[in-house]
Amino acid sequence: MTAWAITTFAHLLTAVQPQWQGFDPAERHQRIYFANHVSHGDFVLIWAVLPKSHRRRTRPVAGADYWRRGGLREFIGSDVFNSLLIERNRDGVEDDPIAQMAAALDEGSSLIIFPEGTRNLTDTELLAFRSGIYRLARSRPGIDVVPVWIDNLNRVLPKGSFIPVPLMCKVIFGAPMHVGKDETKDAFLARARTALLSLKPRQEDAP
């Protein structure tokens, strides 16, 4: 119910439009979606455009330090979107984040991850990827890894502002990828990063 309210609000605000490029959302595969991270609303937008049957099985992976601070944040993060919370400050934490994510995949969930690790507040298009996505994809090689470019959301709700402004957004899904047998960490990270960047719409491409 709350999830419905939040995604409907996201639709009304941003008129978000999904684009599928080499990717069929109707196939009932389990997936690891990886997206650029510009706002706390990122996973809401992805959720809002996924087919309904996929939403319940798709869990955003989020930072526990932010989403476990109680109150509304905890309610939205854990109860509404069923986020998989990861402890980013690793001192004295037993759980290995990759193991946590792999366990969620083994339970049949799809995951939304943000391989930049943190919100991109700079003017560069995309920060360097952390290695987690490689280790996760390697540990569950059968699962599709899908790049997802979230366009324009950084203008809707920039850091430090509380009022979202209604600008139109797109969520662009690319072709699924897998880690090659002998592919090194750096090669895969570079390939994933290129795949994600190639989804970004360019003004001069428009007809």
Partner: protein, 315 residues
């Protein structure tokens, strides 16, 4: 009051009839040329006709709802149009507060002023007050890069998408002797004449169009389409004079005037789209693109129509 309703229902029935004919033609074309959806032109035509049904029903309900319905409908259209326009501008992170003010203060205030019919303020609120105060908000952010461009774009977005759109419901506040309470029909006449001119220009252009008017701006606009559409829509505007306070020749002149403004508005809005490298303003209306794609001709016609009426007919 009752004959307003009767006239309005007659108009709506007329639009319904035209759409019914269009739907039948669309269905025949589909059966003959595109049974499996392989002909893009036919599919687009049918998308458009379906969207026209939705738009016609929406606007009919709003018109029947009287002033509340009309103000609310154009408030929503204005919001959607402003969102499309702002999405294509250079507004940056530094303009966040300005954008929030545009959407959540300027837009509602303008429609509130229309609602309470405060002509003295709604006609200068955006061109004077907002024009001067908006850049102050952006300047306070301290970001100077592209400052003039950013401010000019935001101001123009508000002029087009809020100021112009709000002049459609404003038509209801005009006090024209012998035409009291019939403001809603003035709106219906404007929308029907201008939109039909668009459709007829398209149809004439497809049938006999040879010479392009402005190939760089809008490759589908032709001299033949323009002349044919313009004249036939003016004739329709004259035939619909029962909705207006005009005599026959006044209806013709006014029709010509709003149709010209609509055509020129369409050209200007095309120029902006070309500059931004997009084909449509948005993706919200199937077959039509965005709200501005459908509204562009009404946008430019509305304030001119309003002021001509106010100057020559209103007391």
């Amino acid at each position: 009051m009752n004959d307003v309703r009767a006239d309005l229902l007659a108009t709506i029935a007329g639009i319904g009839g035209v759409l019914l004919v269009a739907s039948i033609i669309g269905a025949i074309l589909q059966r003959r040329y595109s049974p499996d959806g392989e002909n893009a032109a036919v599919e687009n035509l049918n998308d458009r006709i379906r969207a026209w049904w939705v738009m016609a029903i929406t606007i009919s309900v709003a018109l029947l709802g009287g002033r509340t319905g009309v103000v609310l409908l154009f408030f929503i259209c204005s919001f959607a149009a402003l969102r499309e326009f702002m999405t294509l501008t250079n507004a940056s992170r530094a303009d966040h507060n300005t954008l929030a003010a545009a959407f959540f203060i300027v837009l509602p205030v303008q429609f509130y002023l229309i609602w309470i019919e405060w002509y003295g303020l709604y006609s200068i609120f955006i061109p004077v007050w907002v024009f001067l105060l908006l850049p102050v908000v952006s300047a306070l952010s301290g970001e100077t890069r592209n400052f003039l461009i950013r401010v000019a774009e935001m101001q123009w977005a508000l002029m087009i998408c809020v100021f112009c759109v709000s002049h459609v419901p404003a038509l209801m506040s005009l006090n024209i002797p012998g035409h009291e309470g019939r403001g809603v029909l003035l709106i219906a006449w404007l929308v029907v004449t201008v939109q039909l001119s668009d459709v007829l220009q398209y149809v004439w252009g497809k049938l006999v169009g040879r010479h392009k008017i402005a190939p760089r701006l809008s490759p589908s606009k032709t001299v033949e389409g323009f002349l044919g559409g313009c004249l036939s829509a003016t004739a329709i505007g004259m035939a619909l004079k029962f909705m207006t306070p005009f005599t026959l020749w006044q209806a013709g002149l006014m029709g010509l005037c709003v149709i010209m403004m609509g055509f020129l508005g369409g050209l200007v809005m095309s120029a902006i789209k070309r500059d931004r490298g997009v084909k449509d303003w948005g993706h919200t209306i199937a077959g039509h693109g965005g709200f501005i794609d459908r509204l562009d001709s009404v946008l430019f016609a509305a304030p001119i129509y309003f002021h001509l009426l106010r100057y020559y007919w209103s007391v």
